[in-house]
Point group: C2
Chain length 229, copies 2
DNA sequence: GCAAAAGTGTTGCCATTACACCCATGA
DNA sequence: TCATGGGTGTAATGGCAACACTTTTGC
């Protein structure tokens, strides 16, 4: 007896990753020059085909690891893209994920190896296929998530200053925020630990370093608060 | 020359639909008894395999149309589910969609034809594979969407009363709302058209009927307001 | 006349916004 | 000493939540 499934078509399945980093007060993302046809040479999101042995999430984790050398990245599925002709080569359905990386952890030797570049999220060039749409969806998903969970920390080094933190949020939301109101809100949440060190890289006076405190955050959540900035 | 793609695996791709209806003050959803192996007879979401000629959205539209006879349903993609063993028969990646239907439009003869049943969203029985997870995700997606866009109207007949409307929102959010505050907020948005008819089915006094006015809604949006209830 | 659902305003509070000046330091 | 970015508090406002009684009408 033939199985029910055997009558059905099968499809290529890919994952494409929007890898966000935060650098010089700007949200950046990592792009590749496609090294195979069709559209060889065109800028593209890093991606890969799903393997038989792995889940969609696993595939995204693999792609991210190949390109960054990092594990345990924060990531979130964005959307499945399934238009018939979205890939000009073959019928491919692709699931987009975004990931947040601390750009200081990134091994820049990988840029050459993979022919990769960082571009500012505000200046994304034309990308292959529907990858520009994927980027838009990912930025939206990141904004929504940020409004409700403190995921922004994943884009910063372990220790960071409040001005840095504010600039990050401004980059994610695409609008400037009031300094006093921002600091008030963030500090009132009581999830940051103030350190006795200053970062003097961006000012003579120096800005105090803070660290995200997971324990305090759990406490904060258990009180039913929400993380709205 | 063999194409780059030909080395890659292919996968079965399915869409599964969470079809919401609103009936007797409760959010309901439409389930099927699976009529093929594996898990024949188990309750399941309506779904179908992607065809070569259609996009993911098209597939969802087709599945919805087969089961309801309706077109132009409001629907939204929820998430792609891709765990290796999520389907006990074969490796299948499935993309979940939810849809909203006006339950009065539903042709109940289809219930028998497809061996389908409506169940209360608060009392969903155990479902096949990861379909229970899909339902949870869909309810969450519906809540989020409802908080930001007036999609609830799709679950109501063209003419509806404010008490009905409030009950719907209570069903979606899973909490009771204050009558006065609710009416104040909804009416202030000025997207409803009050009719000169009353619905006397649920009270002796009768409740005025209203209609959603698309034009007023566009105006409302153009002023930059948002639909938060 | 009574039960059952529809309809209606006001007040207090909290959260958000707007806003301007002093501080510390390296050059 | 001055230029640069870091750091701080208050007042006004508007939106949200809490709250209870009257109206209509079929039975």
């Amino acid at each position: 007896m033939t199985s029910f499934y055997s009558e059905k078509h099968k499809f290529f399945l890919a994952v494409d990753c929007i890898i966000f980093g935060f650098h010089e007060s700007e949200l950046n993302l990592l792009l590749l020059h496609r090294n195979f046809e069709p559209e060889k040479g065109t800028l593209s999101l890093p991606g890969g085909f799903l393997k038989d042995s792995e889940s969609l999430n696993d595939a995204a984790i693999r792609v991210l690891n190949e390109l960054t050398g990092l594990e345990n990245l924060y990531m979130e599925q964005v959307h499945a893209f399934g238009d018939v002709n979205r890939d000009s080569g073959e019928r491919v359905v692709s699931v987009a994920y975004y990931a947040l990386i601390n750009i200081n952890d990134y091994d820049t030797s990988l840029l050459d190896k993979y022919n990769a570049i960082w571009v500012k999220a505000t200046e994304v060039p034309k990308l292959v296929f529907d990858h520009s749409t994927m980027v838009k969806s990912a930025r939206q998903a990141l904004r929504k998530r940020t409004a409700v969970e403190p995921v922004g920390f994943n884009l910063l080094p372990e220790k960071f200053t409040l001005p840095q933190f504010q600039t990050l949020y401004e980059a994610i939301y695409g609008e400037v925020l009031d300094k006093r109101n921002f600091r008030k809100k963030v500090l009132n949440m009581n999830v940051l630990e103030k350190l006795n060190e200053k970062d003097k890289l961006s000012s003579k006076r120096g800005a105090f370093l803070y660290r995200f405190n997971e324990g305090k955050y759990k406490e904060f959540l258990s009180k039913g608060y929400d993380f709205t900035i």
